[in-house]
Amino acid sequence: MAAIVTADGLRKSFGRRGSTSPPVLDGLDLELEEGAVLALLGPNGAGKTTTVRILSTLLQPDAGRATVAGFDVVRDARRVRETISLTGQQVAIDDKQSGAENLTMMGRLAHLPRRVVRDRVAELLDAFDLADAASRRVAAYSGGMRRRLDLAAGLLTRPRVMFLDEPTTGLDPRSRQAMWDVVRGVVADGTSVLLTTQYLEEADRLAQRVALVDGGRVVADGTPAQLKHEVGEAGVELTFASPSDAGRVAPALTAATVDGLRVRVPTDGSVAHVRSVLSAVEATGVAPEHWEVRAPSLDDVFLALTGHVGQERTAGATGVAA
């Protein structure tokens, strides 16, 4: 399959001239196949939002090149805008308009014929489970409903590519589930999706490919299965009283990693495996202060794939979310 979104060596810094602030993007490459979902996974400040802003023509890169559907995001910005839809981190919907009014407005701004707008609005309200609330003002919507409406607002035109910037941040688990279903529906209708997320689980559930972003570049990428293979499904985590205790226990365990007081052993979570790990620990004669079975976190992924924990960086003084 052909790539519908490409980025090649994107660079961007926000620092004032002469300042030494590190670049937000430091040679980022990526590729989204047509009809697929690519997740940019990384901590705050890794450069995910800046990447999305460049790909959706809101920002120009300092260097590098990006295309959407073959159009250059800088030179053919208008053609790119006709191809994409952007759903940013903030919900871009008017509280004082109803759900239907918001969608109709977006349809008019996309210059669709009046009749097409009417049909499409009804269709989307239905598909996103918002038909009952269609005539209510958005101010009365729940967080999940607002996110769904926000997403629907980007779908009036049936875009070929959709950018979703942290679509479920701040949602409760049930609303997150509902958003995932909605995104799957969008993909089933033939839209290619590039999403950013801080949640490994979200990338796992939605994406065919995951690109791990850290310090403004892609530090690893692959299928969720490949990532999980590297990280392990879950881990037995043991916390010891001192680093030397941790260091003494680790050699007795298969594939253990040590991080200060903590020793982590990948596990499939079965009783048999967890018991065997604990027996091996017991045999060393060093008792942990605490232990638990934990699903891999974003930190674990970074640790496993890059050898260090993802750097959380605050955006520059300009207040630009990176």
Partner: protein, 255 residues
């Protein structure tokens, strides 16, 4: 640019909806000028001797003061769109994103038209006796809208430039002072010399005097009404053009 008229009309409808549904701001927009009118006429009016009923003198000034308050709301609305992700979304679409500004300005004009009608109504109940023909009324309202126009484009510019709602709100302090230092509430020749220089050469004074001249006849001692009207219109069109272009440029420049 294609689809310009369509974008302008869609964003105007949006602006009107947002303004008309902002109940708090609507109540303030109507009550505030009425209270100010009552205050000036009932409290200060007795002490001001300008040789005519004070209400005939002060009504246009109160309307322009209200326009200033209304403009502060426009600055807030624009700032909200800039910071809430709305402008980001519009910019990612194949449309004229700056029309979001013209939508707010159009809404402000309609809102001020309503406020103006109410202030005139209350003022007439309190004894304001304009002696104007229909054409003069029309001209007076047109003059007021031209004034609202430039001050709202300035508000839109402020909304684009500021980075917080507080800063946008602070705008009202600035515009509040313009009418006070003009012939809106007291004749300019009662001001100290250095202040008079400013009062005579700022846009509010010729606008006030033109509206007064049109509605109530000669109550401000203007000797050349046509010249003052020309000056007022030039001020408003000039500032309107400057601030509209500046707002558009600032909108494009801000990323």
């Amino acid at each position: 640019m294609t689809h310009l008229m369509s974008d302008v009309s869609t964003m105007t409808v949006r602006g009107l909806r947002l303004v008309s549904r902002d109940v708090d701001a609507m109540i303030t927009a109507v009550l505030l000028p009425v209270i100010i009118l009552l205050m000036f006429v009932l409290v200060f009016g007795g002490a001001v001797d300008i040789g005519t009923e004070y209400i005939n003198y002060v009504t246009p000034g109160v309307i322009l003061l209200a326009a200033g308050f209304g403009a502060a709301n426009t600055a807030l609305a624009v700032e909200h769109d800039m910071s809430s992700g709305m402008v980001e979304r519009l910019r990612s679409m194949p449309m004229n994103a700056w029309t979001v500004l013209s939508g707010h300005v159009a809404a402000s004009l309609v809102k001020n038209l309503a406020t103006t009608a109410i202030v005139f109504g209350v003022s007439i109940l309190m004894g304001f006796r304009p002696e104007a023909t229909a054409l003069e009324w029309l001209a007076a309202v047109g003059m007021i809208l031209l004034f609202v126009g430039w001050i709202t484009w300035l508000a839109a510019l402020v909304g684009v430039l500021v980075r917080s709602p507080d800063a946008a709100g602070g705008f009202s302090f600035f515009v509040m002072f313009l009418p006070y230092v003009s012939s809106a509430f007291v004749p300019v020749d009662t001001l100290p010399g250095w202040l008079r220089g400013f009062a005579e050469h700022q846009p509010v004074t010729p606008v006030i005097e033109t509206v007064r001249e049109l509605l109530a006849g000669d109550v401000s001692g203007v000797t050349d009404p046509a010249g003052v009207a020309m000056l007022a219109v030039s001020w408003c069109l000039g500032l309107g053009l400057v601030f509209a272009v500046a707002a558009g440029l600032a909108f494009r420049a801000r990323r």
